[in-house]
Subunit: 231 residues, 2 copies
Amino acid sequence: MKTTLDLDSAQHQALLQCAFLSPLSDAARDAVMRTMTVRGYQTQDIVFREGTTADTFCCILSGLVRLYRVNIDGREADLGIFSAGDVFGECSMFLQNCYPADAKVAEKAVLAHFDTAMVFELLPKFPDIAQAISGILAHHLKAAQNCIADDRLKTAPQRVASFLLARCPPGSPSSTFRLPYQKSLLAGTLGLAPEALSRAFSQLRLNGVSIMGRNIAIEDTEALRQFSRSE
Amino acid sequence: MKTTLDLDSAQHQALLQCAFLSPLSDAARDAVMRTMTVRGYQTQDIVFREGTTADTFCCILSGLVRLYRVNIDGREADLGIFSAGDVFGECSMFLQNCYPADAKVAEKAVLAHFDTAMVFELLPKFPDIAQAISGILAHHLKAAQNCIADDRLKTAPQRVASFLLARCPPGSPSSTFRLPYQKSLLAGTLGLAPEALSRAFSQLRLNGVSIMGRNIAIEDTEALRQFSRSE
DNA sequence: GGTGGCGATTGACGCAGATCAAGACGGTCT
DNA sequence: AGACCGTCTTGATCTGCGTCAATCGCCACC
């Protein structure tokens, strides 16, 4: 494990509990961790660009990373935001070592890089590695499918409601929490202009959601769930 | 291999050349084919429903299958259309054996079903199986990300143009072919109402595309590619 | 305390595409 | 031939959201 950085305990925990490492046997984990490099990034740093050769895939130890596609005329479409404990870029291993999107740091981050070629070599010896990666891919795929379905079936306020409900502890009748990142980023991941997110929030106030800066309070999660499914 | 059906040569070819079986070693292929069941379906048959227990995942030998999500009030959003040689439903293996969407036959089909539990048992013994499935997952994920980006960055005519270009042999300056399925299905996969697809087609006529029923002729693929990227 | 800057909000406007409602164009069956 | 049915097209209208522009709130910094 090459790193010039000292990891704090939260970063260590994010690393070991991420969906890539946590299901592995000790031997497999040791093997992949020998291919690992840790690096710090500043906001707006590019982690990788679409179409470039994929040397590594990443696990986020702290900070935020935004995955997106860029248009010819510079417009961007967000594919997802990843935070501590998330893995991204792994699909390049099975796409001719070519990244399918851009990745940019949205908030000062520390990333663990795993060498794609070296991990690929380990697949035959440690079958649980391929299984772990399949699990990550399957979850990313499901998330992408959710996104497509939500884009096409739900209005802006409904999508925002779904997002908020996903952050509520399941089963609780009401809930209070902080948005994990700033609203303009959230707007992007939901496929909205910041103005549209703002308007969606004001509409949700009528459904028992209070918004104070980044702090959210949901009066009745069940009623909001109802709203998020249909008009 | 359990089947009451006799496969024709095209179906055999679709089976053996699919992304699941084709990269496998002989031993691995034999093992997974012992978990296989082949079944015929009529148009509109349901292959599986979102949220139900995933016993099997499928390879299409002939016909068409539509993958989609349903709203509370019955509206549907297509996640993809699959045809001969395509594999679908495989991600359920890594999602607690739970299908993430509905699948319905769009055109009389013959499907090969692989037993998820039995294939899962084979993963440790045959590492190439997990690799093959990872490859499928990665391609499905990339396709879903393409879809999200296209939905958000492109207009209807541009998305239609992209779809058409994807069916042109690469490098050829012009091209003629038949749409692989009826226009209302195509509209669904592009996230459009059939009327919008129709209007998109009439706009593409101005860009050197002729549409005669299901037959498409593209005058200048490079010009169309230009158009599909930006206004 | 003032000033500058950034993110969030609000309003006004325009447009892409959904929806609704007819019609047109095939196919098949009698 | 004619009648029928499903698919596609065309037109008119509606609506959600993008865009542009102005303002507000907040925090940092001088």
